[in-house]
């Protein structure tokens, strides 16, 4: 379990995270939602140790994040950010093999390659594993990066807007993969997501942030209500029930 206690973060004079306390439970998909500038990505980056916190405490399985070694953390928690986009010409397989770096420091053993093969198979990348990343579509690239994280074999997987720039088909594909990671492999997934309906249909727990604070959190059936959403986003939503899911209509 990840515990965040009274977390604070300032950029210059702007308080981006203010007294945030949350718990992220194992074996679930937790989604961070909220308007632009709410501090979702900052919170995710702090949990994954990419940026330092100003005050507060973050523990992963009761271990203080700041007291853990970077190399050990890389076997426990992984993060994918949008900025991962690269100009380097690497093949899918090479990228996925980097996921084993925390274990092998570059010298991959047979077990490492087995993990690489499994990750590639798991994301259906076998046919394109020798292609270069820059020859692939956005959806295929995203899958390749997720395969790397799968090969990294961490308990916690954090993703910052994994659906960015993806069309509907690929967005659904990615969300189904994340669901499978949780249901089949017992991983814990935390995502920052803008599409409220994806959050509603796929997550177990939703944390809503606004102006650096947690406004509300709960299961989708507690969160996806027009009154709650109005509080978060300051706009009107129609929430409809459809096949046991709650779908928001806000387009007109």
């Amino acid at each position: 379990m990840i515990r965040v206690n009274h977390l604070f973060k300032k950029y210059g004079r702007k308080q981006v995270i203010e007294d945030v306390s949350i718990q992220i439970e194992k074996g679930k998909i937790t989604s961070f939602i909220g308007p632009n500038g709410a501090g979702k990505s900052t919170l995710l980056s702090m949990i994954s140790r990419l940026i330092a916190k100003d005050a507060g405490e973050i523990t992963i399985d009761d271990q203080d994040l700041t007291k853990s070694k970077n190399r050990d953390l890389a076997k426990k928690i992984s993060i994918l950010k949008q900025s991962n986009f690269t100009t380097l010409r690497l093949t899918v397989r090479e990228l996925v093999s980097f996921g084993r770096f925390p274990y092998s420091q570059g010298k991959l053993t047979e077990t490492d390659w087995k993990h690489v093969d499994e990750a590639i198979r798991y994301l259906n990348l076998e046919d394109i594993q020798h292609r270069y990343l820059d020859q692939l579509s956005g959806g295929q690239q995203q899958r390749a990066y997720i395969a790397m994280v799968v090969a990294q074999d961490t308990e916690y997987i954090l993703l910052d807007e994994p659906l960015n720039n993806l069309d509907m088909k690929h967005a659904v594909q990615i969300m189904k993969i994340l669901r499978r990671l949780v249901d089949d492999l017992g991983k814990t997934v935390v995502i920052v997501i803008h599409d409220i309906n994806f959050a509603s249909c796929y997550s177990d727990h939703i944390v809503a942030l606004k102006d650096g604070k947690v406004v509300r959190e709960g299961a989708p059936h507690e969160m996806i209500h027009s009154s709650v959403l109005k509080e978060i986003y300051n706009m009107d939503f129609n929430v409809e029930r459809f096949n046991n899911h709650r779908i928001c209509l806000y387009y007109t």
Binding site: S83, T86, T87, L88, T91, F101, Q152
Partner: protein
Amino acid sequence: MKLRYLWIALFVLSVISIFVGVQDLTPLDLFRLGDGQSLILLSSRLPRLISIIIAGSSISICGLIMQQLSRNKFVSPTTAGTMDAARLGVLVSLLIFASASPLIKMLIAFAFALGGTLLFMKILDSIKMKDTIFIPLVGLMFGNIISSVATFIAYKYDLIQNMSSWLHGDFSMIVSGQFELIYISIPLLIFAYLFADKFTIAGMGEEFAKNLGLNYQQVVRIGLAIVAMVTASVVLTVGMIPFLGLIIPNIVSIYQGDHLKKSLSHTAVLGAVFVLFCDILGRIVIYPYEISISLTVGIIGSGIFIYLLLRRRAYDT
């Protein structure tokens, strides 16, 4: 392209290189070397060949490392001020420590090269517009500023002529006893090979590296230190070789990708082959005179550079 063919090309060109020159030396002579011929072979032809191979491969690898660490395909020792800074260092060492040993001179050149490169990386960090072409242009300007400082100092102390000999990379002055400093590149390149994976991961960005538990800052510093050290040793022994660190890694990247472990040996051998070819060309064109290596590499290299730029544009659209 197979690595094997590159090795064959390197071997053939090496043989040609040994037997091209004003003094007659034929393969048959090897079996009955006279005093004069063995002197030519051991004190001139072989040192020249060795320094060409080391300089060609090491500067190419420096370019490759810099391109990965700066995440820009057009950054190299020539387009990031590293060479100019190293040259300024040589000048300063000449002025202040005139009687110092070559090793001390190299350390001073190294310090300047490292400082210049770090300064350029700092400038890179603060540039908002991360256009691929824009960054090397900034680097060239930065290099020219350092270069004009060097020229100013040299002018004041009447060292212009000395300095122009480092401005132009030249292998014709290489004789035994004066080039051995370049050997320092070899252990550095082996070190670079051991760090190959880490450089590539660092090249994916700081956050990416941190996620994999890699100490990003440390790897970048080690990479730049290798680059500065190698550049300093080459500038001191051979001189400046423009464009080399730029074009060779880019050519290799096209057919071999950017995984350093895969592309490093190709880059090294292709770099050596390219410089060797240019050197032989420079020795043949106006035989018995020579054209300096910086001129031949500069002309052929800038042609390839333009091709790479145009190719990239076609590729982007």
